[in-house]
């Protein structure tokens, strides 16, 4: 009975939050909360909704019925008496253990939240370094390209943008390793034992595609702003070129770039699975990879939800920052 109420309330929250005004801070927070509740529904419901039996998949179809039963119990699909649990009941148990931070890994029998908390700082450092590389290079390249529109530097930066987007990190990573770690022996091959030096190659592998995307975006955005009327007005009234450029054009052109940076941070977190596997970087991505390899479902679910949570949080922060730099948008009811 309680289980049905919880499921009903969750569904109602998810659906009704569509009516919440998202131009206030409180509305944004409610909307984010509802989406995250929806994410728990997806993560817990997928065990039932996807075609095929997850227990067959984890144990193979030759497994003894006793071990199948144990696993089904661990996954919350059957109860202590061996009876099949309904979805509301399963969801209630999932949510209760999630909120009491009491999900146990199949393999280590430790709390999955603890395991994630141990690995998260590594991924945060790596993602941050990748973002720093991207934010330092991307907008710079993009602006330089826009200033030399249709001349050689523009073509070179645009080429970098196109190639950077197309070369996947799981190709760039091994290439960097081949050149800098194996041939030149300048940097460590894997792990995180050498501090800063261990960080260099993974951050470049992760940051390049991002830098390319930001180059493309800031070039397009800059070209658009430079062709607008207010720039012509500013030039016509005799302002110094650098005033027009920095105070008028650049500030406006970077607004969409900020959104992209926020959105991309989540993609970086999710993409960490691949990069961390290549460089054996002991972060959340590698933990997710290992847990998928061992079919440690509770750990997989925790990793997935934690990444979705951080992603949602960062988007919220981006929205607020967006409101601060763009006077046309206000979030949190700030009146100017």
């Amino acid at each position: 009975m309680i289980a049905w109420v919880i499921l009903f309330v969750s569904l109602a929250l998810v659906l009704l939050s569509a009516k919440v005004a998202t131009n206030t801070l409180a509305g944004r927070v409610i909307s984010l909360g509802a989406v995250l509740v929806g994410a728990t529904l997806v993560v817990s419901g997928s065990l039932r909704l996807v075609p095929g039996d997850p227990i067959d998949h984890i144990l193979g179809d030759q497994a003894q019925s006793s071990s199948r039963e144990l696993l089904a119990k661990d996954l919350g699909l059957i109860d202590d008496n061996g009876k099949r649990v309904s979805f509301p009941e399963q969801y209630k148990n999932f949510i209760t253990s999630l909120f009491s931070l009491d999900i146990k890994s199949f393999v280590t029998r430790r709390s999955t939240i603890d395991m994630v908390a141990e690995r998260l700082p590594y991924t945060m450092v790596l993602a941050l370094c990748a973002m720093i590389i991207a934010v330092m290079l991307g907008p710079l390249f993009g602006v330089l390209a826009s200033l030399s529109y249709r001349r050689l530097p523009d073509h070179l930066f645009s080429l970098f943008a196109l190639v950077g987007i197309s070369v996947p990190s799981f190709f760039l990573g091994p290439l960097l390793l081949l050149v800098f770690a194996i041939r030149l022996k300048l940097l460590p091959i894997s792990g995180a034992d050498d501090g800063f030096f261990s960080l260099v190659l993974p951050s470049i592998a992760m940051g390049t595609a991002l830098a390319a995307m930001l180059t493309r975006m800031s070039r397009a955005s800059m070209l658009e702003v430079l062709s607008e009327d207010f720039i012509r007005t500013a030039k016509a009234k005799g302002l110094a070129p650098h005033t027009v450029f920095f105070k008028h054009a650049l500030r406006n052109a970077l607004i969409p770039v900020v959104t992209l940076v926020g959105l991309q941070f989540g993609v970086v977190l999710a993409g960490a699975v691949v990069t961390e596997k290549i460089f054996n970087w002991p972060g959340l991505g590698l933990l997710l990879y290992e847990s998928i390899q061992k079919l440690d479902m509770p750990l997989v679910q925790t990793c997935v939800l934690v990444i979705a949570f951080i992603y949602g949080l960062i988007n919220l922060i981006t929205d607020i920052v967006y409101g601060l730099i763009d006077p046309r948008i206000s979030i949190g009811g700030a009146k100017k």
Partner: protein, 277 residues
Amino acid sequence: MMRLKSRILKHSLLKVGLVIFITIALVGIFGPLLVGSGGIGPNLSHHLLPPGNGNSLGFGVNGIDVLTWLVYGARMSLMISLLVTLSSIVIGTTVGAICGFYGGVTDAIAMRIIDIVLAFPGLLLVLYLAAVMPPSMFTLIFAMSATGWVAYARLVRARVYEIKNREFVVAAMALGASSFRILVRHILPHVVGPVIVQASYGLSVIILAEASLTFLGLGLPIGTPSWGGLLDQGVANLFTAPYLAVFPGLFIAITVLGFNFLGDGLRDVLDPRSPIN
């Protein structure tokens, strides 16, 4: 139609993209007939033999033939990305058209489902779906379509919503056309262009996603020839057999580059607001 053709031929980026796409497609369609299927399976005496000296492009773990895997991998990548894109377009366009045209409760519910799918950044949801299902081609296509339709649904919904208040739609309504007829005959033709542009970017995203998933051991079953599988072997044997990572990486990068060129070019050609028109 003639104008469109001449515009396509004038756009050099688009031409390069088309050439890359056609080349990869030809390799995928006819390549397997030329190289045969003998090199797919293991041949222990060839374990990790490097390229050259009559070894063509070299051999992988347990002596699989790199060239055979590259050629069959091209077929696999194209087949999967076309199937996923097609099913995403069908689901996404249907949902988007209904939501944009009728609005109301259906629209609100669909939009919430889309928000929830988008709450998982990048490949995360595909990764999770592929992790709870046994590795197979069906799993890959299911997991990627289950998340891929969202982009098309949002795109089509926005376009339909924008077009449904135009005069020609109102005129058709006044003439007594049914709403289904208006949607299919009058509105959807205007959505085709943006959907094609989105699809050519989508193809490159799916090729990357398929390779990443297979690289992580979540995609195709072990032993199925694919670019991602070859790359995985390459990264594991980077000291002894770096060519195993370089060849499939190059194939993936060039294919993705081609689709991106195609997307950029088609956007320029099909978008009436673009400067070259």
